[in-house]
Amino acid sequence: MDILPQLIVSGLATGGVYALIALGFVLIYKATHIINFATGEFMMIGAYFCYTFMALAGVPVLPAFLLVMVCAAILGFMVERVILRHMLGQPVISIIMVTIGLSSILMGLAEIIWTSQFKNLPPMFPRAPLNLGVAVVRSNLAYGFIISMAAVGAFALIFKYAKAGVAMRATAGDQMAAFSMGINVKSMFSLAWALGGIAAALGGVIIGAIGGISPTLGAVGLKIFPVVILGGLDSIGGAVLGGLIIGVLENLAGGYLDPFFGGGVKEVAPFVFMVLVLLLKPYGLFGKEEIERL
């Protein structure tokens, strides 16, 4: 049997989840120009929220998802309000160090609260794998993909049409002018962090449902860097396409090259690709180009 369609389809499914997590990064970067290195840990904490509600408190799937989103929004909001608000106007490198520190803190907190033991999320989707004819997709992956794409679509609609979404984009474009419109720029920052937190946490729940959770789950978050660099740091469409491309790419590389190298290619391929993109197109494939009026 030809493995190509199978590799592509499951690659696309994984890529959809990457896209959602990358979106969590992009939302924050777009509105506040902060590179959030703790995105992976937001994801991991989101998965643990889900574990707490479903496995420990016995909440059914749908309410549990809603609770996870609420808690993730509060987490994102608090992180901005308590920590990053005070870093306004500081050098980029300091802010990056703060987010890296934050990722360690969140990881430590997760170990303290939930211990470092590997845990499985309770099954939340129907078991039967999805048969697409050319390929078969595990049910977790298939439902994860559907949820991811629905979430990404919802975020894109908010950003495009909602009043707060337009105000967020205005803030991203010109903070002083946004202030002059009567937009509360600081609350836009909070909102961006809350939304970013939700996106990352949902991604975390899906990744956790597929492969189980542990405090080091955040390492998967590193994969968003190839995704956002490919797609452009501030482009939602770029995050989606980048996610899908990276998902397919790592699956293909893993499927075809692993036999020759004895494994591990799947993990490395996205980063090799990232370096290539940076060399050839430093602004990413879909990154914003400044409009120059001549």
Binding site: A170, A177, I291
Partner: protein, 268 residues
Amino acid sequence: MEDHILAVNNIEVVYNHVVLVLKGMSLKVPRGAVVALLGSNGAGKTTTLKAISGFLPLENGEITDGGVDFDGQPLKGLAPHQIVRAGVFQVLEGRRVFEDLTVEENLACGAYTRRDKGGVASDLDKCFAYFPPLKKRLKNLAGYLSGGEQQMLAISRALLARPKLMLLDEPSLGLAPLLVEEIFGIIGQINRQEGTTILLVEQNAQMALSVSSYGYIMENGRVVMDGPVERLLADQDVQEFYLGLGSGGGRKSYHEVKHYKRRKRWLS
């Protein structure tokens, strides 16, 4: 007593805790009037506007003395977005449209503080009546508009906020003379038809005085002269230094060799 919507009372503004930019600046804007604030580069005109609209803290500036009263209430301690809600809307220097938003979205941002959808819709129609070119470009990115269209968009955003007081910072900047004339005509119309009070900062004194009823002239961080427009226009110093007229009242000729330069009669 006259009804003043805005009173700037003897304010002192310091940037970065050391640079004294405004040294006892005062001005009053009567309700429903157009008041011009003139002066050369660096006189402190924009700083005065920013002191009113609350932008100073964003640039590490601070009002260290005096205060600004709007509609009888002190504006002290309000954040910029709260001042907009109070009814003061500043059109920033250099237009500052949101370049990667469409014209329509830019306009929506102007109406950000408003809750009455019907009112916004009818104000939007007014904007298109004042500035017909905008209507055809609603779906275009604002960054691709011409300079004139961007200025129209910037003023339309202000109109949509329905402010009691509009602060206009150099609306003539970088525009062709014909366009400047058109924009100033519309500024006059907005004042008369919408009843919006306007404080106008300009380098183009001739244009500014043509729509205003009262003028202030600033130098080095304070007002050096003020009065009704007729009196300013008749003043020899204003004619010489701001309107480019010769002492005879005609257009100044640079062919005549000048042996001395008229000194300003005020101390600055």
